[in-house]
Symmetry: C2
Subunit: 143 residues, 2 copies
């Protein structure tokens, strides 16, 4: 696939089909191929989605940093993208990914807390309970 | 679980933990138990999340209709909720659900188009391709 900056107008019709919100963003879900676990949700702008398709790796828009965020650029936890799906309202993206990591990691890690999935809190008896273990100390991930 | 309207302040601490956006909403993903398919994403406000927990069935906030939307109220496609999860940023909810329907339906249907999942379009060669069949004519769902 071509780089985002070289897309011709007609080649970017699929990007025009997305219904970006007032901030030019849509939520993007990363679902792990195989386990089918929902790993995380982040945001994408047009550039991020174009870059994701072009690279075959997840590129999000970091709202806190105000820039494109190639997932794994610091942690090494790159997400290889197998499928990009769009929902019926054209305002949510679903990525089917392989979550990459490092040799010796005890499982795949998508979350910055060192957990497999960002959805590690479960509602139990009126409180959020942490139900997934930290697989790797974040200090060892971001150093 | 108690009804949303009878929650005491301390009993709603879990709702305070959610980081609602400027419109008082968070995205909520419905994932099917068993198949682990991502069925849909809709929005919830505080009332919708409280109602979901209280009823054990998915209740969303319909942005188009500006009111609570008990999923299935018209279609019969109720979602029984087994788990409610929250992500590390506390701004996305994940529901693990059983997608209910009608006797004789050829599979579970979450999408208003009559498809299993709302994520029926896949990016292929620079275009969105519909890759999931309509299981039931929407005219037979909404009548």
């Amino acid at each position: 696939m071509s780089d985002a900056t070289t897309l011709t107008p007609s080649a970017s019709a699929w990007l025009d089909a997305v219904r970006w919100n007032a901030d030019g963003l849509v939520p993007a879900i990363a679902q792990e191929q195989g386990s089918k676990d929902v790993l995380m949700v982040a945001w994408m702008n047009r550039e991020a989605l174009a870059a994701t398709a072009a690279r075959g790796e997840a590129v999000y828009w970091s709202r806190s940093r105000g820039r494109l965020w190639h997932k794994g650029e610091e942690s090494g936890h790159v997400q290889r993208v197998h499928e990009i799906r769009l929902d019926c309202d054209q305002d949510v993206v679903l990525l089917v990914v392989t979550q990459q990591g490092h040799a010796g990691d005890p499982g795949t890690i998508a979350c910055h807390t060192g957990r497999h999935s960002c959805f590690f809190s479960r509602l139990e008896g009126g409180a959020w309970l942490v139900v997934e273990p930290v697989l790797k100390d974040p200090e060892r991930i971001y150093r």
